[in-house]
Symmetry: C2
Subunit: 338 residues, 2 copies
């Protein structure tokens, strides 16, 4: 087997210099680098990640932890993942998705010595995974926030997003607006932080408007969307608009409203937040969406992690990016209600 | 650091027996296993995957290779992935998704010694990745087929699926049926095998019916679906039904047809194959779908790989499973055309 020593001899450099080039750990003069790369090519030298990991205690592999549900990721979640993967690749890291169901699998990952760092999504307010990561000493970055906002994060700016959605609906004359979001099976406090933050931004906005607030939570599915339409007509029939933060329920909400005799947008305006224009286009009528900054956040998250690994971080990031309004055909003038 | 030897001494067994329990490589009496697990607990022994890999030359990690596109996976592809991940976990393997863009990344994976085996999806008829895997000697399994059907595979039974779709449409009186499928940027021959197999099953079915055939290929998006509606009305206006095998174009096809004055199913029946009932429900009207056996195939694929790794394989699998018809509201009686 060709070794790093063979490469060093052929290129007439030290083994350390070969290692600098292979692991990107130190700058090497372009001409020297070219000579080493030529030697690697000529000798058909293959790096063995396992051997290298033992030698350097680095694998240059990053893992994105995600729950192993058949329904994950949705279209928007997937955009986070792929932009993070591409960002890692550009900086010379391998990037794997690590489906994670339970605590045992987490132990396995942390004890494994396999990855240099971890990216966490769908962060809960009180997230036991974050506690485990802190205790383990393995570098990590969050896309999302816990209650403890001292920890570095990149996240959607839910407060600004909800404010802009409310503002858009107000510009069409709406005042009575309901929020439809995701119902979690987890006990309260263990829900993803975004659910809590969306709800409180909505409640604040309604309070500022002096209007009553109604929060409806349903499962993320067509059936959930139809349930939301029913609950809406029973509990808050005077609402003329809905802010929806539950991507998978969007089609069901429109269809369910229609089945109850309320067409969108004539009788009910709908704005779907934290989703994608692509999904909005699939629905009839095309949804007005607040498109998630998924590509930006995926990249920022992975860059924060790599900066931390490479000691290149000036200060840990605390970055919030709002969604972007993409008008469709699901928002219209508020109807006059008697 | 606590070693495997420490665990063996505390449990009063051989190192080999500890290894059998840790790696699941051999049955160990329950009482002995319990003693070893207690020792692991007491000593807080952590397995190090990298060290273990060097000792055993096995990592018990499997990788699913997939193209690193922002649009991947779709809902159906995701179901494949998650069922494979769950299947791997049940047999004691870690399972990672390895986004793969180019040949260099493939080299890195193959040279790395990091994974015990690889699962490949979106297999092309002539797939350079399969050639690389064969040359590398790394065990792999295919979900999909190359031209060379001698290689083990599990795959959708496209011929039976298309025949059943045609049969369903015929039972509603349709005879003129178009096929709408996916346009690939890859040069011909390098396209995913399913595209070729779907097309040839459709052409055979139309020949058997003595009816003309029209194949329309568009990109997988709402815009692609609208383009299909336009091409259909221009090139094959006498068609009363469409067999669609392009999940992401489904909403655009329905909306585009409506914009051209053809409502589904009154003027045009649509059956969407190799997708999910969940996606069908999102569309208005709800699509009649042939639901992909994604969960079954994901599990069969990962089991075939693990059987191969463990020498438990009687014969390499050649398994085909057709889609299942889930009636919606997008298929109706054939209109009488003048």
């Amino acid at each position: 087997m060709v070794t790093m020593r063979d490469v060093a001899e052929r290129a007439n450099v030290s083994i350390a210099t070969v290692s600098f080039v292979l692991n990107g750990t130190k700058r090497v003069a372009p001409e020297t680098r070219a000579r080493i790369e030529a030697a690697i090519e000529e000798l058909d030298y293959k790096r063995n990640v396992v051997a290298r990991a033992l030698a350097s205690s680095h694998t240059r592999i990053l893992a994105l932890l995600h729950p192993c549900r058949e329904a994950w990721p949705n279209a928007t979640g997937n955009r986070f993942v792929m932009s993070a993967a591409n960002g890692a690749r550009e900086r010379g890291y391998d990037f794997v998705l690590w489906p994670l169901n339970d605590d045992e699998q987490m132990s396995h990952l942390l004890a494994g010595g396999l990855v240099d760092g971890v990216l966490l999504m769908e962060v809960q307010l009180r997230d036991p995974r974050v506690d485990r990561l802190i205790a383990s000493g393995l570098p990590f970055a969050l896309i999302g926030r816990t209650e403890d906002e001292e920890l570095p994060y990149v996240d959607m700016d839910f407060a600004t997003t909800i404010d802009q959605a409310v503002e858009h609906l107000r510009s069409f004359g709406h005042r009575r607006m309901a929020l439809v979001t995701l119902r979690m099976k987890d006990p309260a406090g263990n829900e993803p932080g975004w659910i809590t933050r969306v709800k409180s931004a909505y409640l604040d906005a309604m309070a500022a408007l002096g209007e009553p607030a109604t929060v409806i939570t349903v499962e993320g599915s067509s059936a959930g969307g139809r349930e939301a339409a029913r609950l809406l007509s029973e509990d808050f029939p005077e609402a003329t608009a809905v802010i929806l933060v539950n991507e998978r329920a969007s089609a069901g909400l429109i269809k369910g409203s229609r089945a109850l005799g309320r067409t969108v947008p004539d009788d009910l305006s709908v704005i779907s937040a934290a989703t994608s224009a692509e999904l909005g286009e699939m629905i009839e009528p095309s949804l007005t969406v607040m498109a998630a900054p998924a590509g930006q956040l995926g990249r920022l998250g992975v860059n924060a992690l790599i900066d931390q690994l490479e000691g290149a971080q000036d200060a840990p990031p605390h970055v919030l990016i709002p969604c972007t309004l993409v008008p469709g055909q699901s928002v219209g003038p508020a109807p006059i209600r008697q």
